[in-house]
Symmetry: C2
Subunit: 235 residues, 2 copies
Amino acid sequence: MRGHMSRYPLQCATCAVREQAVCAALTEAERGELMRIGEHRTLERGDALIDAGEDNYACATLISGALKISAIDRDGTERIVALVHPAGFVGELFTPTAHHHVTALTDSLVCLFPRKPYEKLVDAYPHMAHALLRRSALDLAETRSIIDLIGRRGSRERVAGLLLVFARAAACDPGGVAMRFDMPLTRGEIAGLLGLTIETVSRRLTDFSRESIIKKEGARGVKILDAPKLEELVR
Amino acid sequence: MRGHMSRYPLQCATCAVREQAVCAALTEAERGELMRIGEHRTLERGDALIDAGEDNYACATLISGALKISAIDRDGTERIVALVHPAGFVGELFTPTAHHHVTALTDSLVCLFPRKPYEKLVDAYPHMAHALLRRSALDLAETRSIIDLIGRRGSRERVAGLLLVFARAAACDPGGVAMRFDMPLTRGEIAGLLGLTIETVSRRLTDFSRESIIKKEGARGVKILDAPKLEELVR
DNA sequence: CGTATTATTGATTCGTGTCAATCGACGTGG
DNA sequence: CCACGTCGATTGACACGAATCAATAATACG
């Protein structure tokens, strides 16, 4: 764990996700309370934010970067159960111990809160519960869309689906599709997410490349050449 | 759609899930409001409660029976993304249209609320948002455990995992495992949920039977003979 | 009792996992 | 600057498991 996580006091006024995150719905006073208990923290790729089994973990809002939520079965295989994008919230409230690992996929900045005080605020301020509920509904929908991905039969369809997930996440405008982006996951992580092997992921990617559906730019970079074809594979 | 759905006024006082459902956290006054807008409805197996694409759908608390939440891709394949057990809540709040179908797996009884008035209550009463948030956290955890199920490599492991899900759902005490139960899903539905085919599900089930891990009692009934073995397959 | 639906079983094909070798990028130290 | 080691990605040969196709059996239902 080479992580050199750095901490800073909160600066809500200049926050990039100020409008979309949970705290957007809060009053000035409530946000003030949050600022008192929270702090900014930077994470490098690979840094753990929460470990499964921890009994007194934290929760956080992601400001920039990307996180993964995963479980490790005892044979060592990692199962990714969710990806977290900026403005997303992580941390299981109201449970004694964490069930999943939360890890940075890229260098990231989070707004970190100790769980207990945070829960107290949720209890005290209706706005917080309400805002978290909306966020939670989004998370649920997103998690179900991952089931949709994994449930697909062929490896082609799964990889195509994930490419679109990345493309949508990388798009500036919500609802749009980025034509060029870097995949935040290694082949191994992609394999873990899709329930495939590294080799199969690699093969499908080169297949797509040969069919001119995408263009590979280094190991991580992808340019989408034939978006309709991808959509068709997924739909 | 042969469904003969029947409606009745709410009878909270004698409700079986009164203590665990969302409404458990409410005051008498708040529950009174709910009773005003809600009604009981009985569903037969196969009845649709919500259809994807509906613009003015309802939400509901399941009192008894079982529901499935699913999507249908346009090639007609059904993808089940969640199972709902008594005290569970269905309905996507704060979204204009429903993304998923909700269907009864067995004869069921639900507490049904029109969405708009329900959302109004959530806005008005902090307790509601808070209670829904807790429920939502449970749903999220359960949905992620389904990902864990589907992501498993072999068909053996997946079927074993689902058997345990059923066994736990059928247990009277939470946390326990029922030794004998009826599977609420057809082979086709199981296949859809696990990303397998009907034939494979059938084969694994007969495998387990031959290995004396389970005993099949008719098409739906299952008696668990070797629970540790099942746990081992999943762990 | 007969028909429709659902489940089982078998034979075969196809796709993905597995094992293994190679390549490429990157960082380190000689 | 180049040799080397490490790590991730790619590619190939092969085996195994699940899908597919097809026939039969069991169950539900009128």
